[in-house]
Structures are given as C-alpha cells and as structure tokens.
Symmetry: C2
Subunit: 184 residues, 2 copies
C-alpha cells in the first residue's frame, strides 16, 4: 500500500517559496482551478471517522477520491484511492448522481487555484502546492509518496523542507473542515 | 429520466429465437463473457430495497451499474445508472477497492455468456439477449429503453415479441438472486 506523507501550512509569504525554488531552477506551474465536491456517507460520519469522499474536477478531467483516516499525529499521512472517472461536466454530474442514488449526500464544494512544482530534496521527490482557497485563504502543501519502509525518511525530508520555506503554522484541518467552520 | 423496460424468461428453445431473427435478416452476435461482481450496501439491505450495485467486466471494459427498485409488477422496469470506469482487470480491482473502503462488501459474481441482437419491432428497438448463466441456466432477456411517455408502448411491444418467441416462463428474479438461492 502507498501512503501520502503530507503537511499543510498557512502561508504568509508565497514569494519566499517561488524564490527558493527559482534558485534551484524549479518554477511553479501556472495556476489551475480545482473544484472538489465532497460527499457524506449514508451510514458513517466522515467528520468523526476522519475519512473523505470527493469528486475532483480539473478542466475536463474528473477523479473520485477516497481518503482514509490519518495514521499519525503530526503529518497528514493516510490511505488514498484516486480513480479517474468519465470526463467533462456531464461525467462528474453522472458520478454524483450515482453517489446520491447510493445514499451519499453532497456536503460542500471546495474551489481553489493551485500552483504546483516537484522538487527533489533529501532523496525524495516532494510535491509542492501553493493554494489559494476560496473563502479560506492561502496555504502551502508538501507531499511525498512513500511505502511503509520509506515513511520515516519522507517525514524527515518534509520537516526539513518546511523549515527552508519558513513554514511554521501547521494546519491539520482539511480545506473542507476550514470552509465548514466559517459557515454561519 | 430513462427507464429500461425489461422482461426475462426461462429459455427452452434458443434455436426458435435465432430462426425468427434470421427470417428477418438479423443475426445474434457471437457470445461474449460478462462477469458481474455484486456488492452489498453498508447500511441498506439491497435484497429488501430491490436495488443492486455491480461492477461489470466485458473483455477489457468495465462499468459500474446501479439499479433502482422495480417500478411495476410485471416487467422489470427500473432506474438504471451505468458509468464507464477504468478499463482492465486492474481498473475493476481498483474500483472494488474503493467500494470496499466505503463499506460495501462483495456478495457474489454472476458469470454468463451472452449473445445479443437489436431488432426493430412495433416501432421500438428491442434489445434481445440470449444468456447462458453459469450455475443458473439459459434465459432470454428483452429490453426497450423508454422515457416516461413511451413506457406503455414499450411494454406492449415487449409482450408481443415474447409471444412471437414462444417465451412463457417469466422470471422476475435477478441472476444474482437465482444464483444465491442455489447455494447450499
């Protein structure tokens, strides 16, 4: 099984990251709009079980993503299943119709503009994402894919890169949780 | 919303159907193996609610199919959602893993060799399927897609074609139900 070792931080200074990357010849990709439609389970309280199910749309492409509970206290390491589904607005709508027929219910949409880069660091390939999340704020996510044997090295690399970026305000709540907390 | 108006019959004489079709210039396609993996819902008893969820594999292609409850007493008219998913054995396995993570559980596999034809009849396009179902027997399914306004005409055409084919032993149980009833 593969795990994503991931940490997210509130971001005060996006330029510092871009500058650090540029000094190593890495540029952030242009921003893409990601729309994540989250669903509630018919019998489980995902907020209590720390799971999530969403349909992600980026341009014409769609995926269904399941995230399992976090498996440690400091990072966001968790099981993740992400499968491509039919493309286009119609494809996303049909999958949402399937989920609804099965008793899942739509909770909220998280919309963000994301710039990404991949940077080799301490022997790991680190996915860097700089996110501007509608109604929530700016964040940086760092992520490394690892199998069980590589988890400790991935966690160490991630902490060291966060220090390089000046990231200190760790945020374990999901964008969905942050968005729902802001609702009146 | 579209409905499938569908009836299934136990089949004593497959040759009669092939002969009737041949007299009208229609041939049954060569047999294809369909494997349907059925899943139980985490909170609903699909046997009681008359719903079904399955992954269908035909060669390299896969679909996820949801069938809603039957909406009348004699035919098998019901809501159906069928969406393509990732192809190949790996694609079907990944979708099964997603369903399992969400609390669905595997029930049984229905394996059948199906020969099909489409025949115009009384203004409807009728899908004819001649099925040899492992462990269950031989059947003929007749199906017409209709919207709400076309349901009555579709039901009448279906009954008339069944009479032409000499089909009398209507079977409302699904192949899954028939298979499960035969288990010790």
């Amino acid at each position: 099984m593969n795990y994503e070792v991931e940490q997210k931080f509130r971001l005060a200074d996006p330029d510092r990251i871009a500058t650090w990357l540029a000094a190593r010849g890495v540029a952030l990709e242009p921003a893409v709009l990601q729309v994540d439609e989250y669903f509630a389970h018919p019998a489980r309280d995902f907020a209590a079980t720390d799971e999530a199910l969403r349909i992600r749309s980026v341009g014409e492409q769609n995926w269904v993503t399941y995230k399992g509970p976090k498996i440690d206290a400091s990072t966001k390491t968790r099981r993740e299943l992400e499968l491509p589904i039919e493309p286009g607005q119609a494809g996303a709508a049909r999958f949402a119709e399937l989920l609804t027929a099965l008793g899942f219910s739509h909770v909220a949409a998280v919309r963000k503009r994301r710039r990404t880069a991949t940077v080799p660091f301490q022997g790991c390939d680190v996915e860097v994402a700089v996110d501007n999340v509608e109604g929530v704020g700016q964040f940086c996510e760092l992520e490394i894919s690892a199998d069980a044997a590589g988890l400790d090295a991935a966690r160490a690399a991630l902490a060291a890169l966060a220090a390089e970026f000046g990231l200190t305000e760790n945020e374990r709540r999901s964008y969905l949780e942050l968005l729902l907390e802001r609702r009146p």
